[in-house]
């Protein structure tokens, strides 16, 4: 090849094309999404235009406080490498049948997140709606401390370093882990295992992960 200007232009425009097509365009399309009410109502001015219902709650909500700190723990521990946070539509995969969420998730569900953790691996289950499943904080703490306690045969990493083993002085702590009787993983007699602040935050975050609202483009169908 001898036509070098053509070579340079080609190299430049090849990537510029996909950069514009994939990144800039989706930034325009998705970047303009805003919070909305669960359903839309016809506008007073023009009944053909649908607008947000006045006074109703806007979704998706921003997670705040302890849950927000828990998301940082989720990031630090690399949870995303085994757990996705996206529910696919009914009929594509079995996300719906596995109760991973009451509806598929859409782009708007993620607009309030400063870091989006969609994930591409399901060595473990999807967590988009884990807070909506019948699992309480006690269960999550036992499961994080050692997954074998709640889910024998699981390949999930244990996170004992998010917990402290302490000698019980006087009364036992209210937030000590509640091991099942005869558990192989419980503390020595006279000791208790309590969550650190990081573990408490992480569980708070997991419990905050819920798809319990409709969006106009993705309603929860009963």
């Amino acid at each position: 090849m001898k036509n070098l200007p053509l070579l340079f232009c080609g190299i430049f425009f090849a990537l510029a094309f996909s950069f514009a097509g994939l990144i800039l365009t989706s930034n325009i399309q998705v970047g303009s999404l805003t919070q909305t009410t669960e359903t839309l109502v016809p506008s007073d001015d023009d009944p053909n235009v649908m607008v947000m219902a006045e006074g109703e709650t806007l979704y998706p909500m921003q997670i705040v406080g302890l849950a927000q700190q828990g998301k940082q723990v989720y990031i630090e521990m690399g949870c995303v490498y085994c757990h996705s946070q996206q529910v696919r539509r009914q009929g594509f995969g079995a996300d719906y049948e596995r109760n991973w969420g009451p509806r598929q998730t859409v782009a708007r569900d993620y607009i309030m997140q400063d870091r989006v953790l969609l994930g591409t691996m399901r060595t473990g289950p999807d967590l988009m709606h884990v807070g909506g499943r019948p699992l309480n904080a006690d269960w999550h703490h036992l499961h994080l401390y050692n997954p074998q306690i709640t889910s024998p045969g699981s390949s999930m990493a244990p996170f004992p370093f998010l917990y402290e083993t302490r000698e019980i002085g006087g009364a036992a702590s209210a937030n000590a882990l509640k091991f099942p009787p005869d558990s192989d993983y419980g503390p020595e007699p006279g000791f208790e295992i309590v969550p650190t602040r990081k573990a408490i935050a992480l569980v708070e975050y997991l419990l905050s992960l819920k798809v319990n609202y409709s969006l106009p483009e993705a309603p929860i169908l009963e």
Partner: protein
């Protein structure tokens, strides 16, 4: 190619050009890049070993989760990411800086001036990466796939890359001779594409996060193109340079190389969105990614055919030359992995393979069986020219080849078979999740075993390399190149 015409196209006996002028010029160019290229190869091999260690820990933890489970530093997500970054930015990028820049300098017939600056930039790259991997381990991981390095390490990498990549462009700018060979197009393009991808991804995901899933689109635009527009062009450039070099026979078709290059340039960079099939992003984006992924069949078949027609009839030579044995393995893998990749992008296939170990197997098929094997071949060819010594041990080269060839084959077959079963089971809502986990165990154990083979191969490579570097093999220079079959013939290694 500027030097190929001097080679006798029928003979494989020539060690190098008959023209002493050409030999002297190449020798001078080799000398200009020697110190920095050797530094990059040493760094690459050190990272390869570090990455292998992280890989073994990761693979073992996948079926023995309590192993090293008591410290946060060695939790699965971090070790796995340390492995990925050691291999992608440590091994792969360093070996590209060595072999890619060396090929660029040779083909441009342009010595690397002020090589000291290149060396300093290389030191910074590796310091930045060490800081970054340390950051991942202590918990500053970003949890953005392929971009795990913490924000305090990436600017060092970006700046040092600018100082490294520019040498390839400078060598090209001061090129001599009319013709520009296909390897130069690939290298020039990759040197330009990589920083663009990296900076955009850093800015839009880490520094000034884009809204919502724009981050995910950017993430996979980057991550897939890291393979497609950084590793792939460099490996293809190496194959395009070395296959004719070793065989002493020109590339089959100039026009096929043009077609292969431009179709790759146009299609590959749209393909990454296929990692988000079924995900919460606009469907037209995914469709664009699927179409581009399928169109990748064109460059793959074209390049595969071009390489095949170049080596056809000389299979014995390919097997005898350490360089070509690795490169041919890599080139065949390129065709295979790309066809599988295009198939995986189809929605109905992706419904099964997405979120499973199938994808992990596919990633290793590409980065290892294709890219890494070709770059091993490149190092086998380059080092004797830089050091004026031969590889000390043919047995270690064979051990290296077989360890890697068997290891990666076992890994890809195990992960893709296990992953396919995992995907089918996951799509059947009546199968409890823990049963699926249990059924993946034998396949994950097979992966750990494959890791042992790969480790043996890498150790053989490292031992041979450092043995050569520290001169014990100097005597071999008099006996001609190290080949893999007992023979009286001479041939290019």
């Amino acid at each position: 190619m500027s030097t190929a015409p001097q080679l006798n196209s029928q003979s494989t006996k020539l060690y190098s050009s008959k023209d002493s002028g050409v030999r002297a010029e190449l020798s001078q160019i080799d000398a200009s890049i020697r110190t920095s290229a050797i530094f990059f190869v040493i760094s690459a091999i050190v990272w390869l070993m570090v990455g292998t260690l992280f890989a073994l820990i990761t693979a073992y933890k996948a079926h023995e989760p309590s192993f090293m489970g008591n410290q946060s530093w060695w939790t699965f997500g971090r070790v796995r990411s340390a492995h990925l970054n050691s291999m992608a930015l440590g091994w792969s990028s360093n070996v590209i800086f060595a072999v890619g820049l060396w090929i660029m300098a040779r083909l441009s017939r342009s010595a690397i001036r002020h090589g000291g600056l290149l060396l300093i930039a290389g030191v910074f790259w590796n310091v930045g990466l060490t800081v970054g991997i340390g950051g991942i381990i202590i918990g500053d991981i970003t949890s953005v796939e392929w971009l795990e390095l913490p924000h305090y390490a990436t600017p060092i990498l970006a700046l040092s890359y600018a100082m490294i990549g520019v040498w390839g462009v400078v060598a090209f700018k001061f090129r001599r001779g009319e013709h520009v060979y296909v390897s130069q197009w690939y290298i020039l393009a990759a040197l330009f594409w990589f920083p663009w991808l990296y900076v955009v991804a850093q800015v839009m995901i880490i520094w000034f996060p884009a809204r919502g899933v724009v981050q995910s689109v950017t993430n996979w635009w980057f991550a897939h193109n890291f393979l497609g527009l950084w590793l792939t062009p460099m490996a293809l450039a190496t194959a395009y340079y070395l296959i004719p070099k070793v065989l002493g026979r020109p590339i089959h078709s100039y026009y096929l190389s043009v077609l292969g290059f431009w179709s790759l340039a146009i299609f590959y960079n749209w393909a990454g969105v296929h990692h988000l099939i079924g995900g919460p992003i606009p469907v037209w984006l995914i469709s664009a990614g699927v179409v581009a992924s399928v169109m990748m069949v064109i460059p793959v078949i074209v390049v595969g055919w071009n390489h095949h027609m170049t080596v056809v009839g000389l299979h014995r030579e390919c097997w005898r030359s350490p360089t070509l044995r690795f490169i041919v393995f890599g080139a065949i893998s390129y065709t295979l992995v790309s066809i599988i990749g295009s198939t995986m992008a189809l929605r109905s296939v992706n419904e099964v393979t997405h979120f499973t170990h199938f994808t992990v197997g596919h990633a290793h098929h590409g980065v290892y069986a294709f890219f890494t094997m070709i770059m091993f071949g490149g190092v086998y060819y380059m080092m004797p020219r830089l050091l004026k010594r031969e590889w000390p041990s043919a047995s270690l080269i064979k051990l290296h080849f077989w360890g890697c060839a068997i290891g990666i084959t076992v890994m890809v077959v195990a992960l893709q078979t296990g992953g396919w079963i995992q995907g089918l089971q996951m799509n059947d809502g009546s199968i409890p999740f823990l049963d699926i986990v249990k059924d993946t165990m034998p396949w994950l154990k097979a992966r750990s075993i494959s890791g042992v083979f790969l480790t043996v191969g890498h150790m053989a490579f490292a031992v041979n390399f450092f043995w050569m570097l520290f001169a014990a093999g100097a005597v071999r220079a008099k006996q001609g190149p190290t080949l893999l079959q007992a023979t009286n013939e001479e041939g290019a290694a």
